[in-house]
Symmetry: C2
Subunit: 302 residues, 2 copies
DNA sequence: CATCTCGATAGCCGATGACTATCAACCGCG
DNA sequence: CGCGGTTGATAGTCATCGGCTATCGAGATG
C-alpha cells in the first residue's frame, strides 16, 4: 500500500471515472488503472465494480475510502507542519539565562524576535550558570546565555562570546558617594562600604566576592539573598551599595547613583552556549543570530 | 513521502539507532539511511540530529512523529478491515423481500446466516416487488427476494429462481370447510367464500385476484388491507378464508384449517434478484448461496 | 453497422530502492 | 597514542517498478 495508490484510489472514488481521475492526478490512465489493480491485489479485494460507465465502490472500497482520505490528509498536514517549522512560522525556543541577563540584554532582543516570528513560542528558564549547563546537556534547553568562565566547562558545550560588560557600583543618591576620588571607585574602596548582595546562584555574587578577596578583604553584606530588582531596591533605599552590570544600572533609572570602577575595573563576559553535538533547531539558530547581532552592536569590540 | 519512508522514520525514532532500525524493518542499513535522507530532502528539514551514538529527533522530526504513527496505524487498520470484510467477519447485507417471504422462507435462513457470520449486519427491507426492484437498481439493496414474474422486468436485473410454492386456502376450524369436496378446493369454489385479503403491494393479492378473475368471478372481500399476521388472525376469527403459501400456513399453527387447492392449483415462483452489472458484495453472495441451498432442500425440484 | 468511449493490456524505458563494499568519524581500550 | 570496533554515510551495481505510448475490446450511440 502506498500513499500514491491511495491518492489514485480516492480520485477514482470521487470522479467515478478512471480517465478523469487520471487527469486529476496528472498521470496517464493506464498507470492509474495499474496502480489501482496493484492495490486491489495487495488488499485481496476489488475496490471498484467496473460496470461500463458506472464505476462504483465495492464494500471494500467503501471501507477503505474514509481511511484513505484521512491518511492523505494526515500526510498533507505533516508536510505543512514541517514546512511551517522551517519557515519559522511555528516552533519553540527554549532559552536559559542567568537572572542578571534576563534583566539586561534579553528583553529587547526577545521583543524583536517575537515581533519578527510571532509563531515561535519563547520559553525562558532563569537559573544559575551551573543549572543552565546541566539543562543544556540534558537537551532541556536549546540555548543558554551564560557568564564566562563556566563553572563546569565541558567539551559537550560550545560557547560563543557575545559581549563584555563593565560592572559598576550603584548606590543611593542620598548617601555619600562611595570611594574617595569622586568620579570612580576602586575595588578596594568597597572595603569601607556595606554591600547589598545577590542570592547564591548569581554569577555577580561570585564575581564580586572573588574581586574583593583578590583585593585582600572579605566583603561586608548589609543584606543578601535578593533577586536583581530587590537588590536595586535595597540600594535605592540606602541599605548599601551593589556591584551590577552597567547595562542594568542604566536601565534602573535616575534614582540611583552610578559610579564606575577605576581601571581595570570589573567585567563579565557573556556568552551563548549550546550543545556541541547537535545543531540547535532553526528557530534557536535564528535567535542566536539576533542575539549575536544585537550584542555586536552593543559592544563586544569595546 | 511514502508509507515505507514513514515506517523507516518511526523505526529510527523508536530505536534511536539506524542500524537497529534497519534490522527491525528488515532492510540493509544503507537503504534505510538513504530513504530517511530522501524523506528529509522532500520535507526540506532534517528529521534527526545524527550525533554519533546519540540519534535524536529534531523539531521537525518531533512534529512528524505523531502524524507518521497515526498514518501507519490507519494504513494497518485499512488493511485489517478490508481483509475482515473478505473473511465475512464484518460487513452488511441489504436484503429486500416481499412481506410474505419474510414470514416464510427467510427466518430460518437468516438465523443460520447470522449464526455463521455474526459480524455481518443484516438489513431487511420489506416491500412490494415493484419497490424492491427500484431499490435494487438504485443500489440501495444488494439482493431481493421477489415473486416472479416481476412487475417491471429489466435487463439490469438478474433473477435466479429459488423455489415454487403451492398456495393453499386457510380457514377457521370452526367454520364449515370451504369447497364442496372436502379434501381440496377449486379456485372457482372461492366464489362462494368471503376472502380476507392482503393490502395492496402483496403479490399474493394480485395473484389471488387474478386467479379468481381467470375463473370467471370477482372475489368478495370480507376485510382487506392487513399484513400477513393480521390476515391470519382475521381468518382464525372466522371473518373469511385466505389464500396463502403452504409454508406460511404450516407455520401458522394448528388453529387454522388448511385446505389444498385442487390441481393444478395455484403457485408462485420465488426468485432472488440482484443487479446484473455489478457483482453483489461477498457477504451478499454468501447469503445468496445459503438461500439457494436452503430452498433447494426445501424444494425447487418438486 | 460504423463510430466513439473508456477501461484493460502490452511493451518499453528511466527512476528508484535495495544490495554489497567501503569510507569516515568517533569511541574505548591497551 | 595508536588500533580495532562501531555506526552512519557514500559509491556503485542491479532488479524492480511505475510511467508512458500504442492498442485492444466491450458497450454505448447514432
Amino acid at each position: 500500500m502506498q500513499l500514491q495508490q491511495l491518492q489514485y484510489f480516492v480520485a477514482v472514488a470521487e470522479t467515478r471515472h478512471f480517465t478523469r481521475a487520471a487527469e486529476q492526478v496528472h498521470v496517464a490512465q493506464p498507470s492509474l488503472s495499474q496502480q489501482i489493480r496493484s492495490l486491489e491485489r495487495e488488499l485481496g479485494a476489488e475496490l471498484f465494480s467496473r460496470a461500463r460507465g458506472n464505476i462504483a465502490l465495492t464494500d471494500a472500497g467503501e471501507t477503505l475510502l474514509p481511511l484513505a482520505r484521512r491518511i492523505l490528509a494526515d500526510a498533507d498536514t505533516a508536510r505543512q507542519e514541517v514546512q511551517e517549522l522551517g519557515r519559522l512560522e511555528r516552533g519553540r525556543v527554549r532559552l536559559g539565562a542567568t537572572p542578571s541577563l534576563c534583566t539586561g540584554l534579553l528583553p529587547d532582543v526577545l521583543r524583536a524576535f517575537h515581533d519578527r516570528y510571532p509563531g515561535i513560542r519563547l520559553l525562558i528558564e532563569e537559573g544559575g550558570s551551573h543549572d543552565l549547563v546541566r539543562e543544556l546537556a540534558r537537551g532541556a534547553l536549546d540555548l543558554a546565555l551564560v557568564v564566562l568562565p563556566l563553572p563546569s566547562p565541558s567539551p559537550a558545550l560550545t560557547t560563543l562570546e557575545l559581549l563584555r560588560e563593565d560592572l559598576v557600583v550603584v548606590s543611593s543618591p542620598e548617601a555619600p558617594a562611595p570611594g574617595t576620588r569622586g568620579r570612580s571607585v576602586r575595588v578596594s574602596d568597597l572595603q569601607r562600604e556595606r554591600l547589598v548582595m545577590f542570592r547564591h546562584g548569581y554569577d555577580l555574587r561570585e564575581l564580586t566576592v572573588a574581586a574583593c578577596r583578590a583585593a585582600g578583604f572579605e566583603p561586608d553584606f548589609a543584606v543578601e539573598g535578593g533577586e536583581m530588582d530587590a537588590v536595586l531596591g535595597f540600594v535605592r533605599a540606602g541599605l548599601g551599595v551593589a556591584v551590577v552590570p552597567r547595562m542594568v544600572a542604566a536601565r534602573a533609572g535616575r534614582d540611583l547613583r552610578v559610579t564606575p570602577l577605576t581601571r581595570p575595573g570589573l567585567h563579565r563576559t557573556i556568552a551563548l552556549a549550546h550543545r556541541s553535538d547537535v545543531a540547535p533547531p532553526r528557530a534557536a539558530r535564528e535567535l542566536q543570530r539576533m542575539l549575536t547581532e544585537a550584542s555586536g552592536a552593543a559592544g563586544l569590540p569595546r
